[in-house]
Symmetry: C2
Subunit: 476 residues, 2 copies
Amino acid sequence: MPAIAKSEHLYHEVADRIEELIARQALKVGDKLLSVRALSKEQGISLSTAFQAYYHLESKGLIEARPQSGYYVKFSPRHSLALPACCEPADEAMPVSLDDMITSVYNDLRSTNILSFSVSSPAPALLPVAKLKKSVVHSLNHETDHCLGYEHVQGNAGLRKQIAKLSFNWGGTPAEDEVVITAGCMEALTFSLKAVTQPGDAVAIESPTYSGIFRVMQSLGLHVVEIPTDPRHGLDLAYLETAIPRFQIKACLFVPNFNNPIGSCMPDAKKMQLVQLLAKREIPLIEDDIYGELYFGKTRPRTCKSFDKKGLVLHCSSFSKSLAPGYRIGWVLPGRFKQQVIGLKRMSNVATNTLAQVSIAHFLQNGRYELHLRHLRKALHTHSLQYLQAINEFFPSHTKVTQPEGGFVLWVEMYRKADGYKLHKRALRHGIGIAPGQLFSASQQFGNYFRISYGTPYSDKIEKALKTLGELVAGL
Amino acid sequence: MPAIAKSEHLYHEVADRIEELIARQALKVGDKLLSVRALSKEQGISLSTAFQAYYHLESKGLIEARPQSGYYVKFSPRHSLALPACCEPADEAMPVSLDDMITSVYNDLRSTNILSFSVSSPAPALLPVAKLKKSVVHSLNHETDHCLGYEHVQGNAGLRKQIAKLSFNWGGTPAEDEVVITAGCMEALTFSLKAVTQPGDAVAIESPTYSGIFRVMQSLGLHVVEIPTDPRHGLDLAYLETAIPRFQIKACLFVPNFNNPIGSCMPDAKKMQLVQLLAKREIPLIEDDIYGELYFGKTRPRTCKSFDKKGLVLHCSSFSKSLAPGYRIGWVLPGRFKQQVIGLKRMSNVATNTLAQVSIAHFLQNGRYELHLRHLRKALHTHSLQYLQAINEFFPSHTKVTQPEGGFVLWVEMYRKADGYKLHKRALRHGIGIAPGQLFSASQQFGNYFRISYGTPYSDKIEKALKTLGELVAGL
């Protein structure tokens, strides 16, 4: 192991142990920690490693340095607001109908110039602007036709190769020929749904789930069956098993890793169970893994695709949450539905933007993506703790909130009669954007919930906005 | 007028008059022209202007310089092969079914490394590579977030403004707010069809028409009614009028300017008639104007949109045929269907690539597009005459071929029993790609036709390939 990696490993280990003490409340909020010198002595580590460990915990918002005094426990992630409840199981498969309220909220979110907690994408400050720019300029100068020509309908071969390589991280071994490039993940999901369903079919989704999914399903004339989903371990498999025959479910669309908005991550063993359960019934599974790379733990959670033996899993993802939202580059590993998906791509928009594909391929080839992801994960983890702490501090004590282990968003449950849409409208008047819970269910559950994105680095301005939001929640 | 523009104007004028003489056969193929000196004297122009006029006519393939001898008429565009026939009117509205043959041909066209007359897009040599690159680099350096963020779902405001400005050329006066940006023209057409039809509806199209249209209609469950279309003046309006009640036509999708593959341009008065005819019946018209800027005449043909008073015309176009195929930037002016189209865009792929939009907007802002188009039109006009001449020379005398006044393609009719698909397969063996006529009809008409694109500059290699093609046609 190189020296730098070894020291990084060491301070992580020490920091993790301290974090564990805080979580078990062996160290409580307000407790003073050992001095850097004492820690170094106690643990038999260098002063610099001891300092790095504290610095790391500080950047995560767990401890704070008080001038002339030392380090103190600032926040305990486990000793905080409760987790939100699970949704009610479905009584019937229902056609999706999104009313004007939801459309209006969606427009507000995009068009108003506000401090937005409502968009689940990374702030530009978190993105590798300069290095990606270099890749674009390189591609303009060195590629055939300077990227002016049509790309192959299935996508740039170099990019497909890089995506195949990325898949090793989640236990996949696809060939580049199994990858189809799309204009973002929504397009991948849309083509996948079209490839495996007919209008009128019932499709199982997690509840709550991202409103964009409902819109696509509505446009394809599909019915949704909402499967209750736990903030920790994901969807209720037992319920799914009974729902399949009851609602004649023809396909599933799930977000196993850091589901939006609930942030749950299905344990890998459960993913395998799910894949087997569906394989037995020959039911296709569309897997939206757009947040999979944004894990806070030690290893990349696996994907359902990695357990797929029958080509029934259509694995969808993109670079929109991790690298370049505006480049609109996503992909799907469509398994046995590859020809249908390629056909849909060809007739929808012929091919995806050439320059963006070639540039991202170049960025990945040079190992820049892995490096960037390491920084991004650390930053998002820190944000999540900082935001959580502020919510702990400023929101009414009956508030419940998720503690995601990855992704971008917190899912907040208010008291039973509070109205997320009302909160949305009041918050807008203070220049604050949130996504009301009503957006995340076809059956209008979650009226007393809302979603907050922590994609923007924590600051005084953010803190002030969260404080205001807490007051608004209390006043509902 | 600056001196250069004035001299350019002058040699054009002289060249045009000579071209007219050739067209009227006052000057016949093989006739000797005045010497440069004599022309200069006769017309009262400088030697250099006289030379430029001849040079221009030579580059168009109309005259040739013979060493030690002078200039001779080489080709007469009006004295050549006959025009192809019109198609048969439809007997019924039919569901689209594209068989494996067509799919296989389409794959061949894309994947084989051949001298391709089959793709109707400009050769990279005709595109403003360096200047567009400058616009991309400028956008990377000077735009908010370096173009990494999501663009607005409706599209970049600057680009929409430029597209609105472009519309003045065809008699349009849209506000930028009426423009919706899409990932190319196919996407614009798809959203437009979705916005105005339901599965099972009958939609009128020109016959022959581009195969991509059939694919989209098939996927939307639409039925097509093929309207006979004349190579000179476009579709048969009288027939359309009777077909509307007979087939219960719910929408029309036409390419009034330089229809692919037939190259016809509907006279502006006829466009007005068409718009009025449909307006009276409240039938939406989807207008594909992707070739509209590539006219060879003196002025831009107008569009149906310019006659639209009721917001029933959805005007679609893109930069794919004129500037940057791989950038995938198109647009639609959806009239009264704007909200539906924006909704479809949002749920299909959220927004279009930011960098490509901003870069093209910058390119247009700087007046570079108009300049480029002038060059491109001239080049394509020249190619068209050069290709036509070769076909005249090398193809059997019973061959018929269109003489388009714009666009990219020639439509060739062989003798009645010849088979375009067979020609396609034989040509492939010689490393030559063509698009067989079968691709251009839902009712499998045009078996003895094929399409040739003249997007690639004429060369010895092209000439040899056209000669081979002529021999293959003769041997069918």
